[in-house]
Symmetry: C2
Subunit: 234 residues, 2 copies
Protein backbone atom coordinates (compact mmCIF):
# COMPACT_ATOMS: atom_id res chain seq x y z
CA UNK A 1 0.00 0.00 0.00
CA UNK A 2 1.30 3.45 -0.84
CA UNK A 3 2.14 5.78 2.02
CA UNK A 4 -0.28 8.64 2.60
CA UNK A 5 0.80 12.25 2.16
CA UNK A 6 -1.14 15.42 2.92
CA UNK A 7 -0.64 18.16 0.32
CA UNK A 8 -1.49 21.81 1.00
CA UNK A 9 -3.27 22.68 -2.24
CA UNK A 10 -4.10 26.35 -2.65
CA UNK A 11 -4.93 26.05 -6.33
CA UNK A 12 -1.87 28.02 -7.39
CA UNK A 13 0.97 26.85 -9.59
CA UNK A 14 3.36 25.92 -6.78
CA UNK A 15 0.96 23.82 -4.75
CA UNK A 16 -0.37 22.07 -7.87
CA UNK A 17 3.22 21.19 -8.74
CA UNK A 18 3.93 19.72 -5.31
CA UNK A 19 0.68 17.75 -5.47
CA UNK A 20 1.86 16.20 -8.73
CA UNK A 21 5.30 15.67 -7.18
CA UNK A 22 3.79 13.89 -4.17
CA UNK A 23 1.96 11.52 -6.50
CA UNK A 24 5.11 10.99 -8.60
CA UNK A 25 6.93 10.15 -5.35
CA UNK A 26 4.54 7.23 -4.84
CA UNK A 27 2.16 8.65 -2.27
CA UNK A 28 -1.59 8.44 -1.95
CA UNK A 29 -2.44 12.11 -1.63
CA UNK A 30 -4.97 13.80 0.61
CA UNK A 31 -5.40 17.40 -0.51
CA UNK A 32 -6.09 20.17 1.99
CA UNK A 33 -7.28 23.63 0.98
CA UNK A 34 -8.37 26.63 3.00
CA UNK A 35 -11.14 29.13 2.79
CA UNK A 36 -9.42 31.68 5.03
CA UNK A 37 -11.25 34.80 3.98
CA UNK A 38 -8.85 35.45 1.12
CA UNK A 39 -9.61 38.01 -1.56
CA UNK A 40 -9.08 35.29 -4.14
CA UNK A 41 -11.26 32.49 -2.83
CA UNK A 42 -11.61 31.88 -6.55
CA UNK A 43 -8.44 29.77 -6.14
CA UNK A 44 -10.51 27.07 -4.41
CA UNK A 45 -12.29 26.35 -7.66
CA UNK A 46 -8.88 25.81 -9.23
CA UNK A 47 -7.88 23.57 -6.32
CA UNK A 48 -10.92 21.37 -6.94
CA UNK A 49 -10.19 21.16 -10.67
CA UNK A 50 -6.53 20.29 -10.08
CA UNK A 51 -7.38 17.63 -7.49
CA UNK A 52 -9.81 16.08 -9.96
CA UNK A 53 -7.28 16.30 -12.80
CA UNK A 54 -4.61 14.58 -10.70
CA UNK A 55 -7.02 11.86 -9.56
CA UNK A 56 -6.88 12.86 -5.88
CA UNK A 57 -9.78 11.15 -4.11
CA UNK A 58 -9.72 12.93 -0.75
CA UNK A 59 -9.86 16.70 -0.70
CA UNK A 60 -10.70 18.64 2.44
CA UNK A 61 -11.59 22.33 2.21
CA UNK A 62 -11.32 23.87 5.64
CA UNK A 63 -12.86 27.14 6.81
CA UNK A 64 -10.56 29.17 9.04
CA UNK A 65 -11.44 32.82 8.75
CA UNK A 66 -8.23 34.80 9.23
CA UNK A 67 -10.08 37.83 7.83
CA UNK A 68 -11.62 38.18 11.29
CA UNK A 69 -8.51 40.12 12.21
CA UNK A 70 -7.08 40.87 8.77
CA UNK A 71 -3.66 42.45 8.75
CA UNK A 72 -3.05 41.74 5.05
CA UNK A 73 -4.15 43.00 1.66
CA UNK A 74 -5.44 39.45 1.06
CA UNK A 75 -7.70 39.39 4.11
CA UNK A 76 -8.66 43.02 4.69
CA UNK A 77 -10.26 45.22 2.03
CA UNK A 78 -9.02 48.27 3.96
CA UNK A 79 -5.45 47.36 2.91
CA UNK A 80 -4.86 48.30 -0.72
CA UNK A 81 -3.61 45.55 -3.03
CA UNK A 82 -0.23 46.48 -4.53
CA UNK A 83 -0.59 46.63 -8.31
CA UNK A 84 2.40 48.71 -9.36
CA UNK A 85 5.17 46.14 -9.32
CA UNK A 86 6.97 43.72 -7.02
CA UNK A 87 9.13 45.33 -4.37
CA UNK A 88 12.12 43.37 -3.19
CA UNK A 89 13.64 43.09 0.31
CA UNK A 90 10.48 44.06 2.14
CA UNK A 91 7.69 41.98 3.64
CA UNK A 92 4.81 42.88 1.30
CA UNK A 93 1.36 43.82 2.58
CA UNK A 94 0.06 40.63 0.96
CA UNK A 95 1.82 38.68 3.71
CA UNK A 96 -0.93 37.13 5.87
CA UNK A 97 -0.01 36.98 9.58
CA UNK A 98 0.55 33.39 10.62
CA UNK A 99 -0.99 31.88 7.51
CA UNK A 100 1.52 29.13 6.82
CA UNK A 101 1.83 28.39 10.53
CA UNK A 102 -1.94 27.87 10.70
CA UNK A 103 -2.08 25.82 7.50
CA UNK A 104 0.75 23.50 8.52
CA UNK A 105 -0.76 23.07 12.00
CA UNK A 106 -4.06 21.95 10.50
CA UNK A 107 -2.17 19.69 8.08
CA UNK A 108 -0.44 18.11 11.08
CA UNK A 109 -3.84 17.42 12.65
CA UNK A 110 -5.08 15.81 9.44
CA UNK A 111 -1.83 13.87 8.97
CA UNK A 112 -2.05 12.50 12.49
CA UNK A 113 -5.70 11.46 12.13
CA UNK A 114 -4.95 9.75 8.79
CA UNK A 115 -1.52 8.31 9.63
CA UNK A 116 0.14 10.29 6.86
CA UNK A 117 3.93 10.08 6.68
CA UNK A 118 4.52 13.39 4.91
CA UNK A 119 3.12 16.87 4.40
CA UNK A 120 3.98 18.44 1.05
CA UNK A 121 4.23 22.22 0.90
CA UNK A 122 4.58 24.58 -2.05
CA UNK A 123 6.62 26.99 0.03
CA UNK A 124 9.26 28.88 -1.93
CA UNK A 125 11.96 31.10 -0.48
CA UNK A 126 13.18 32.64 -3.71
CA UNK A 127 10.45 34.74 -5.25
CA UNK A 128 8.78 35.42 -1.90
CA UNK A 129 11.96 36.18 -0.04
CA UNK A 130 10.14 38.74 2.09
CA UNK A 131 7.76 36.20 3.65
CA UNK A 132 9.15 35.01 6.98
CA UNK A 133 7.19 31.76 6.84
CA UNK A 134 8.64 30.53 3.54
CA UNK A 135 12.25 30.02 4.62
CA UNK A 136 14.20 26.82 5.34
CA UNK A 137 14.93 27.68 8.99
CA UNK A 138 11.23 28.24 9.58
CA UNK A 139 10.53 24.79 8.14
CA UNK A 140 13.22 23.19 10.30
CA UNK A 141 11.67 24.72 13.42
CA UNK A 142 8.26 23.41 12.35
CA UNK A 143 9.71 19.95 11.76
CA UNK A 144 11.08 19.97 15.30
CA UNK A 145 7.66 20.98 16.63
CA UNK A 146 6.06 18.15 14.64
CA UNK A 147 8.39 15.69 16.35
CA UNK A 148 7.11 16.80 19.76
CA UNK A 149 3.44 17.44 19.05
CA UNK A 150 1.88 14.06 18.33
CA UNK A 151 1.63 10.43 19.34
CA UNK A 152 3.49 9.43 16.17
CA UNK A 153 6.11 12.10 16.77
CA UNK A 154 6.82 10.82 20.27
CA UNK A 155 7.34 7.37 18.72
CA UNK A 156 9.83 8.78 16.20
CA UNK A 157 7.33 8.78 13.33
CA UNK A 158 6.42 12.44 12.92
CA UNK A 159 5.30 13.30 9.40
CA UNK A 160 8.07 14.80 7.31
CA UNK A 161 7.55 18.34 6.03
CA UNK A 162 8.50 18.16 2.36
CA UNK A 163 9.06 21.42 0.49
CA UNK A 164 10.48 20.37 -2.89
CA UNK A 165 10.30 23.88 -4.35
CA UNK A 166 11.78 25.81 -1.46
CA UNK A 167 14.97 26.77 -3.29
CA UNK A 168 13.66 26.76 -6.87
CA UNK A 169 13.18 29.83 -8.99
CA UNK A 170 9.68 30.35 -10.28
CA UNK A 171 10.87 29.47 -13.78
CA UNK A 172 12.27 26.18 -12.38
CA UNK A 173 8.83 25.53 -10.90
CA UNK A 174 7.17 26.12 -14.26
CA UNK A 175 9.54 23.62 -15.89
CA UNK A 176 8.91 21.05 -13.18
CA UNK A 177 5.15 21.59 -13.49
CA UNK A 178 5.35 20.91 -17.22
CA UNK A 179 7.42 17.75 -16.66
CA UNK A 180 4.89 16.47 -14.12
CA UNK A 181 1.89 17.16 -16.34
CA UNK A 182 0.38 19.84 -14.12
CA UNK A 183 -2.55 21.56 -15.86
CA UNK A 184 -0.93 24.99 -15.57
CA UNK A 185 -3.79 26.81 -17.28
CA UNK A 186 -6.14 25.52 -14.57
CA UNK A 187 -4.04 26.87 -11.70
CA UNK A 188 -4.94 30.22 -10.19
CA UNK A 189 -2.36 32.64 -8.81
CA UNK A 190 -4.00 36.06 -9.05
CA UNK A 191 -4.56 37.77 -5.69
CA UNK A 192 -7.67 39.47 -7.06
CA UNK A 193 -10.64 37.16 -7.33
CA UNK A 194 -12.04 38.18 -10.69
CA UNK A 195 -12.90 35.78 -13.48
CA UNK A 196 -9.62 36.43 -15.28
CA UNK A 197 -6.19 37.11 -13.73
CA UNK A 198 -5.43 40.81 -13.35
CA UNK A 199 -1.85 40.62 -14.55
CA UNK A 200 -0.92 43.46 -12.20
CA UNK A 201 -0.74 42.02 -8.68
CA UNK A 202 2.57 40.67 -7.39
CA UNK A 203 1.44 37.09 -7.82
CA UNK A 204 0.43 37.61 -11.47
CA UNK A 205 3.68 39.45 -12.20
CA UNK A 206 5.90 36.77 -10.66
CA UNK A 207 3.97 34.01 -12.42
CA UNK A 208 3.89 35.74 -15.79
CA UNK A 209 7.57 36.52 -15.73
CA UNK A 210 8.38 32.88 -14.91
CA UNK A 211 6.07 31.53 -17.61
CA UNK A 212 7.68 33.78 -20.18
CA UNK A 213 11.23 32.97 -19.01
CA UNK A 214 10.48 29.24 -19.10
CA UNK A 215 9.15 29.49 -22.64
CA UNK A 216 5.42 29.33 -21.97
CA UNK A 217 4.47 32.89 -22.82
CA UNK A 218 1.17 31.64 -24.22
CA UNK A 219 0.07 30.92 -20.63
CA UNK A 220 0.89 34.39 -19.31
CA UNK A 221 -1.80 37.04 -19.00
CA UNK A 222 -2.02 39.51 -21.85
CA UNK A 223 -1.12 42.31 -19.47
CA UNK A 224 1.74 40.25 -18.07
CA UNK A 225 3.19 39.73 -21.53
CA UNK A 226 3.09 43.47 -22.18
CA UNK A 227 4.62 44.29 -18.80
CA UNK A 228 7.32 41.72 -19.29
CA UNK A 229 8.35 42.99 -22.66
CA UNK A 230 8.27 46.56 -21.36
CA UNK A 231 10.26 45.84 -18.18
CA UNK A 232 12.52 42.90 -18.86
CA UNK A 233 12.91 42.61 -22.65
CA UNK A 234 14.06 39.03 -23.01
CA UNK B 1 -0.84 51.76 27.57
CA UNK B 2 -1.01 48.17 28.73
CA UNK B 3 0.58 45.55 26.52
CA UNK B 4 -1.82 43.28 24.64
CA UNK B 5 -1.98 39.55 25.33
CA UNK B 6 -3.97 36.89 23.51
CA UNK B 7 -5.49 34.27 25.83
CA UNK B 8 -6.72 30.91 24.60
CA UNK B 9 -10.02 30.69 26.47
CA UNK B 10 -11.78 27.34 26.18
CA UNK B 11 -14.23 28.07 28.95
CA UNK B 12 -12.66 25.52 31.28
CA UNK B 13 -11.12 26.13 34.67
CA UNK B 14 -7.51 26.29 33.50
CA UNK B 15 -8.00 28.77 30.67
CA UNK B 16 -10.26 30.98 32.81
CA UNK B 17 -7.49 31.04 35.40
CA UNK B 18 -4.83 32.08 32.88
CA UNK B 19 -7.18 34.76 31.52
CA UNK B 20 -7.45 36.19 35.04
CA UNK B 21 -3.68 35.82 35.44
CA UNK B 22 -3.02 37.68 32.19
CA UNK B 23 -5.16 40.57 33.44
CA UNK B 24 -3.46 40.48 36.85
CA UNK B 25 -0.11 40.65 35.01
CA UNK B 26 -1.18 44.01 33.57
CA UNK B 27 -2.21 43.02 30.05
CA UNK B 28 -5.13 44.08 27.93
CA UNK B 29 -6.55 40.69 27.01
CA UNK B 30 -7.93 39.51 23.70
CA UNK B 31 -9.70 36.18 24.25
CA UNK B 32 -9.68 33.51 21.55
CA UNK B 33 -12.00 30.49 21.63
CA UNK B 34 -12.59 27.70 19.14
CA UNK B 35 -15.61 25.94 17.80
CA UNK B 36 -13.66 22.93 16.55
CA UNK B 37 -16.45 20.38 16.35
CA UNK B 38 -16.00 19.38 19.98
CA UNK B 39 -18.57 17.25 21.77
CA UNK B 40 -18.78 19.94 24.43
CA UNK B 41 -19.29 23.08 22.38
CA UNK B 42 -21.29 24.01 25.46
CA UNK B 43 -17.96 25.26 26.82
CA UNK B 44 -18.17 28.25 24.46
CA UNK B 45 -21.12 29.59 26.43
CA UNK B 46 -18.93 29.42 29.52
CA UNK B 47 -16.11 31.16 27.63
CA UNK B 48 -18.44 34.05 26.80
CA UNK B 49 -19.64 34.32 30.39
CA UNK B 50 -16.10 34.28 31.74
CA UNK B 51 -14.88 36.89 29.26
CA UNK B 52 -17.78 39.12 30.29
CA UNK B 53 -17.14 38.49 33.99
CA UNK B 54 -13.46 39.41 33.61
CA UNK B 55 -14.28 42.52 31.59
CA UNK B 56 -12.55 41.29 28.43
CA UNK B 57 -13.69 43.51 25.56
CA UNK B 58 -12.38 41.55 22.57
CA UNK B 59 -13.36 37.92 22.24
CA UNK B 60 -12.95 36.03 18.97
CA UNK B 61 -14.67 32.67 18.49
CA UNK B 62 -13.10 30.89 15.57
CA UNK B 63 -14.57 28.00 13.58
CA UNK B 64 -12.03 25.36 12.67
CA UNK B 65 -13.76 22.04 12.26
CA UNK B 66 -11.31 19.34 13.30
CA UNK B 67 -14.26 16.92 13.41
CA UNK B 68 -13.90 16.73 9.62
CA UNK B 69 -11.31 14.05 10.26
CA UNK B 70 -11.99 13.22 13.89
CA UNK B 71 -9.51 10.88 15.51
CA UNK B 72 -10.68 11.65 19.06
CA UNK B 73 -13.59 10.92 21.38
CA UNK B 74 -14.12 14.70 21.48
CA UNK B 75 -14.49 15.10 17.71
CA UNK B 76 -15.85 11.76 16.51
CA UNK B 77 -19.02 10.17 17.87
CA UNK B 78 -17.73 6.79 16.64
CA UNK B 79 -15.06 6.92 19.37
CA UNK B 80 -16.59 6.10 22.75
CA UNK B 81 -16.06 8.63 25.55
CA UNK B 82 -14.20 7.03 28.48
CA UNK B 83 -16.41 7.22 31.56
CA UNK B 84 -14.92 4.57 33.83
CA UNK B 85 -12.01 6.42 35.34
CA UNK B 86 -8.79 8.19 34.39
CA UNK B 87 -6.04 5.95 33.06
CA UNK B 88 -2.50 7.07 33.64
CA UNK B 89 0.57 6.76 31.40
CA UNK B 90 -1.38 6.45 28.18
CA UNK B 91 -2.47 9.00 25.62
CA UNK B 92 -6.25 8.97 26.14
CA UNK B 93 -8.72 8.77 23.25
CA UNK B 94 -9.86 12.27 24.23
CA UNK B 95 -6.55 13.56 22.84
CA UNK B 96 -7.43 15.59 19.70
CA UNK B 97 -4.78 15.29 16.97
CA UNK B 98 -2.96 18.56 16.54
CA UNK B 99 -5.43 20.59 18.57
CA UNK B 100 -3.04 22.73 20.60
CA UNK B 101 -0.76 23.12 17.59
CA UNK B 102 -3.69 24.50 15.60
CA UNK B 103 -4.93 26.73 18.43
CA UNK B 104 -1.52 28.25 19.10
CA UNK B 105 -0.94 28.79 15.37
CA UNK B 106 -4.18 30.75 15.10
CA UNK B 107 -3.28 32.65 18.26
CA UNK B 108 0.04 33.59 16.63
CA UNK B 109 -1.86 34.94 13.63
CA UNK B 110 -4.12 37.02 15.89
CA UNK B 111 -1.18 38.15 18.04
CA UNK B 112 0.71 39.32 14.96
CA UNK B 113 -2.28 41.21 13.54
CA UNK B 114 -2.91 42.90 16.90
CA UNK B 115 0.71 43.45 17.97
CA UNK B 116 0.26 41.32 21.06
CA UNK B 117 3.37 40.65 23.11
CA UNK B 118 2.23 37.40 24.74
CA UNK B 119 -0.02 34.40 24.26
CA UNK B 120 -1.34 32.90 27.49
CA UNK B 121 -2.09 29.16 27.50
CA UNK B 122 -3.83 26.99 30.09
CA UNK B 123 -1.64 24.04 29.15
CA UNK B 124 -0.87 21.73 32.04
CA UNK B 125 1.60 18.86 31.99
CA UNK B 126 0.64 17.27 35.31
CA UNK B 127 -2.90 15.98 35.15
CA UNK B 128 -2.78 15.48 31.37
CA UNK B 129 0.61 13.86 31.31
CA UNK B 130 -0.46 11.69 28.38
CA UNK B 131 -1.06 14.60 26.01
CA UNK B 132 2.04 15.22 23.89
CA UNK B 133 1.09 18.85 23.25
CA UNK B 134 0.96 19.92 26.89
CA UNK B 135 4.62 19.49 27.79
CA UNK B 136 7.36 22.08 28.33
CA UNK B 137 9.59 20.84 25.48
CA UNK B 138 6.65 21.13 23.09
CA UNK B 139 6.16 24.73 24.22
CA UNK B 140 9.86 25.50 23.79
CA UNK B 141 9.76 24.19 20.23
CA UNK B 142 6.70 26.33 19.52
CA UNK B 143 8.43 29.39 20.97
CA UNK B 144 11.32 28.82 18.58
CA UNK B 145 8.89 28.54 15.68
CA UNK B 146 7.23 31.81 16.78
CA UNK B 147 10.61 33.54 16.62
CA UNK B 148 10.96 32.54 12.96
CA UNK B 149 7.39 32.83 11.72
CA UNK B 150 6.52 36.51 11.77
CA UNK B 151 7.67 40.02 11.02
CA UNK B 152 7.88 40.76 14.74
CA UNK B 153 9.75 37.53 15.35
CA UNK B 154 12.38 38.38 12.76
CA UNK B 155 12.86 41.70 14.57
CA UNK B 156 13.35 39.91 17.90
CA UNK B 157 9.84 40.68 19.15
CA UNK B 158 8.02 37.38 18.82
CA UNK B 159 5.13 37.02 21.24
CA UNK B 160 6.04 35.05 24.33
CA UNK B 161 4.15 31.83 24.97
CA UNK B 162 3.14 32.02 28.63
CA UNK B 163 1.92 28.86 30.33
CA UNK B 164 1.68 29.76 34.01
CA UNK B 165 -0.03 26.49 34.97
CA UNK B 166 2.20 24.09 33.08
CA UNK B 167 3.73 22.52 36.18
CA UNK B 168 0.86 23.08 38.64
CA UNK B 169 -1.32 20.34 40.06
CA UNK B 170 -5.00 20.76 39.38
CA UNK B 171 -5.55 21.58 43.07
CA UNK B 172 -2.91 24.33 42.74
CA UNK B 173 -4.89 25.67 39.80
CA UNK B 174 -8.10 25.72 41.85
CA UNK B 175 -6.33 27.69 44.58
CA UNK B 176 -4.92 30.16 42.08
CA UNK B 177 -8.35 30.53 40.45
CA UNK B 178 -9.89 31.39 43.81
CA UNK B 179 -7.13 33.93 44.56
CA UNK B 180 -7.68 35.59 41.18
CA UNK B 181 -11.44 35.78 41.56
CA UNK B 182 -12.24 33.38 38.72
CA UNK B 183 -15.95 32.49 38.66
CA UNK B 184 -15.25 28.77 39.00
CA UNK B 185 -18.91 27.78 38.93
CA UNK B 186 -19.22 29.42 35.52
CA UNK B 187 -16.35 27.44 34.00
CA UNK B 188 -17.13 24.29 32.03
CA UNK B 189 -14.86 21.25 31.97
CA UNK B 190 -17.15 18.32 31.15
CA UNK B 191 -16.35 16.56 27.86
CA UNK B 192 -20.01 15.73 27.40
CA UNK B 193 -22.10 18.69 26.30
CA UNK B 194 -25.18 18.24 28.43
CA UNK B 195 -26.73 20.95 30.57
CA UNK B 196 -25.04 19.67 33.73
CA UNK B 197 -21.56 18.12 34.06
CA UNK B 198 -21.60 14.32 33.86
CA UNK B 199 -19.15 13.74 36.71
CA UNK B 200 -17.87 10.63 34.94
CA UNK B 201 -15.63 11.74 32.07
CA UNK B 202 -11.91 12.21 32.70
CA UNK B 203 -12.23 15.97 32.73
CA UNK B 204 -15.01 15.94 35.34
CA UNK B 205 -13.10 13.45 37.49
CA UNK B 206 -9.85 15.43 37.42
CA UNK B 207 -11.69 18.68 38.15
CA UNK B 208 -13.84 17.24 40.92
CA UNK B 209 -10.90 15.62 42.66
CA UNK B 210 -8.99 18.92 42.58
CA UNK B 211 -11.94 20.94 43.85
CA UNK B 212 -12.40 18.56 46.75
CA UNK B 213 -8.67 18.44 47.53
CA UNK B 214 -8.46 22.24 47.49
CA UNK B 215 -11.40 22.54 49.87
CA UNK B 216 -14.14 23.50 47.44
CA UNK B 217 -16.19 20.33 47.48
CA UNK B 218 -19.35 22.39 47.09
CA UNK B 219 -18.30 23.12 43.50
CA UNK B 220 -17.77 19.47 42.55
CA UNK B 221 -20.48 17.52 40.77
CA UNK B 222 -22.72 15.39 42.95
CA UNK B 223 -21.40 12.29 41.21
CA UNK B 224 -17.85 13.54 41.60
CA UNK B 225 -18.28 13.91 45.34
CA UNK B 226 -19.55 10.34 45.60
CA UNK B 227 -16.77 8.98 43.38
CA UNK B 228 -14.18 10.87 45.32
CA UNK B 229 -15.28 9.57 48.66
CA UNK B 230 -15.48 6.05 47.24
CA UNK B 231 -12.11 6.10 45.48
CA UNK B 232 -9.84 8.53 47.27
CA UNK B 233 -11.27 8.89 50.79
CA UNK B 234 -9.63 12.12 51.93
Amino acid sequence: MNPTAVVLLSGGLDSATVAAQAIADGNTVIALSFNYGQSHARELLAAKQIAAHLGIQDHFIMDVNLAKWGGSALTDTAVAMPLNGVQSNVIPVTYVPGRNTVFIAIALSLAEAKNAVAIYLGINAVDYSGYPDCRPDYLEAYQQLARLSSKAGLEGNAPTLVAPLVNDSKADIVRRAVQLGVPIAQTWSCYQGDTVPCGLCDSCRIRDRALIEAGFADLATLIGKQLYSACFEP
